[in-house]
Subunit: 266 residues, 2 copies
DNA sequence: TGCTGGACTTAATCCAGATCAATATATACA
DNA sequence: TGTATATATTGATCTGGATTAAGTCCAGCA
């Protein structure tokens, strides 16, 4: 609505950019003392489908470290695999580095999502993962998670489901990358973000991108320039409103239509 | 099996194109009575890391159905998820269909590999999967696998590893699709097949492709024409010898070099 | 307060791979 | 066994997005 609120006082409000925290939260979103039982993400994260005492057992193995600053690494490619991580606040990106130093982003992670499962099989993380903004994490040592899963069938079941979900998502991305145009990929990316923000009770139509255009391009297999151009084009079509990192989706169905049009041609 | 029944007017006489069977195997590779304990794929499949009695318990929940003919479906997109499947012989492809009927291949599966994990989370398969040639399968009802995993920590651990491996592989494909050229993708695809054939004791340098050029193109995000042209180009460079479905890799390091060259530019 | 370097945008040109088209070869099937 | 239908190859042309280039707009900070 008021698109000019930033122009009134541009010098002071730094804390205001923490957009991942729904208004009304009593505690700082990066607070590291919140328990699984009281965590507002428990419905998305591992505790779902566990009963009170089971949640307590999970809570006992979770390690809540100090918050991460923008750019801090959770782990680096080839580090020994030790834990999976649940995002509590903020956001992360995973990327692999080719020999020339050019990276390719393999994933973005928002609150309630699980990071690090790519290391389970080989016992080494396959990518590097760093915070895109101030962020906090629940670290779950994997050997303890396995032990607990063995005791709690519900937890085993749920972790199988979490991994299965990751596999299903990755296959969708495969299809996206192998057959969608730049515009379709970008529209799909925005819609995906939108529903992930909605999951954590944030607006599905107005949000701040935690990542750069370059990150998006690397993730979608496009260049920065193309991402930028597509944003402009989508804006001209009246589907979105883009203002630097600030995104407003003005016509969700229109965006869906862009993806659908891929399949519309006889 | 071969003892012919009284009814001979059924059209039955086809079973010769089986290339995946190492010479000297005493039993037909599609034999559906082989137990996990005696299966020559046990070192790749679920039984690995289980002891004798554990393997027996796994064996008890495995269902060995009749072999699949080329084109037969294991399951179709949106079917209710019930089982994961281990390929015993032959090969399969998974694909999703866009509304216009054009498919995109999401994966190929060789002996010892596990199919169907994309359905675990949503309880519905996310793709359709069909045999690329005469093939046989071990069906493992997932609810029983979960129950057994709960009793056997080794099995739980191993299935977590199998799923983690799938996730790691999918992320490599993500990188492949988002940043490799057509030639790099194709070289990488051939090398990948090569090591998967090696895993099942087949030649890593001479093999038959079970899939069409079109399947390969859909998987790699390329057109048939491009795949065909790249094959010709690789042959001209002396890296491979292509004869219809018959492939010989003549210079593995050369092929690796093609992929490496992606990263060589300063 | 002005400097510096990263992030973003826009435009001009180029090229890898798509598309279109024609033909050749293999495989299935009557 | 021959014919129909998938599969594969090859060439000519087109085009979406990369590349190159030249900026603008910031936020961080000495």
């Amino acid at each position: 609505m008021k698109s000019s609120d930033a122009s009134e006082d541009k010098s002071s409000p730094k804390a205001a950019i923490v957009i991942q925290s729904p208004a009304g939260d009593k505690v700082c979103p990066h607070n590291n003392r919140v328990s699984c039982a009281s965590c507002r993400l428990s419905e998305l994260c591992l505790p779902i489908a566990l009963n009170k005492s089971e949640i307590q057992q999970l809570d006992d193995i979770v390690e809540r470290n100090r918050p991460y600053k923008k750019g801090d690494h959770l782990y680096r490619q080839n580090d020994g695999f030790k834990s999976v991580y649940a995002v509590r606040s903020g956001s992360f990106k995973s990327y692999v580095l080719s020999d020339n130093g050019q990276g390719r982003v393999t994933g973005f992670y928002l609150p309630g999502e699980i990071i690090g499962m790519d290391g389970i099989a080989s016992k080494h993380y396959q990518n590097s993962t760093q915070a895109l903004e101030h962020a906090s994490i629940c670290e779950i040592p994997f050997s303890q998670l396995e032990r607990l899963s063995h005791q709690l069938p519900n937890l085993q079941h749920h972790f199988f489901a979490i991994m299965g979900n990751e596999i299903a998502k990755d296959q969708q991305v495969h299809t996206l990358l192998s057959s969608y145009t730049a515009e379709e990929r970008t529209a799909s990316f925005l819609l995906g973000l939108s529903s992930r923000f909605a999951r954590v009770s944030l607006s599905p139509t107005r949000f701040l991108l935690p990542m750069t255009r370059s990150d998006i391009g690397e993730y979608l297999g496009l260049t920065v320039e193309t991402v930028s151009r597509i944003f402009t084009a989508l804006q001209r079509k009246g589907l979105v409103d883009v203002n630097n990192r600030e995104i407003e989706l003005k016509d969700i169905d229109g965006l869906r239509g862009i993806i659908g049009s891929n399949q519309a041609k006889s």
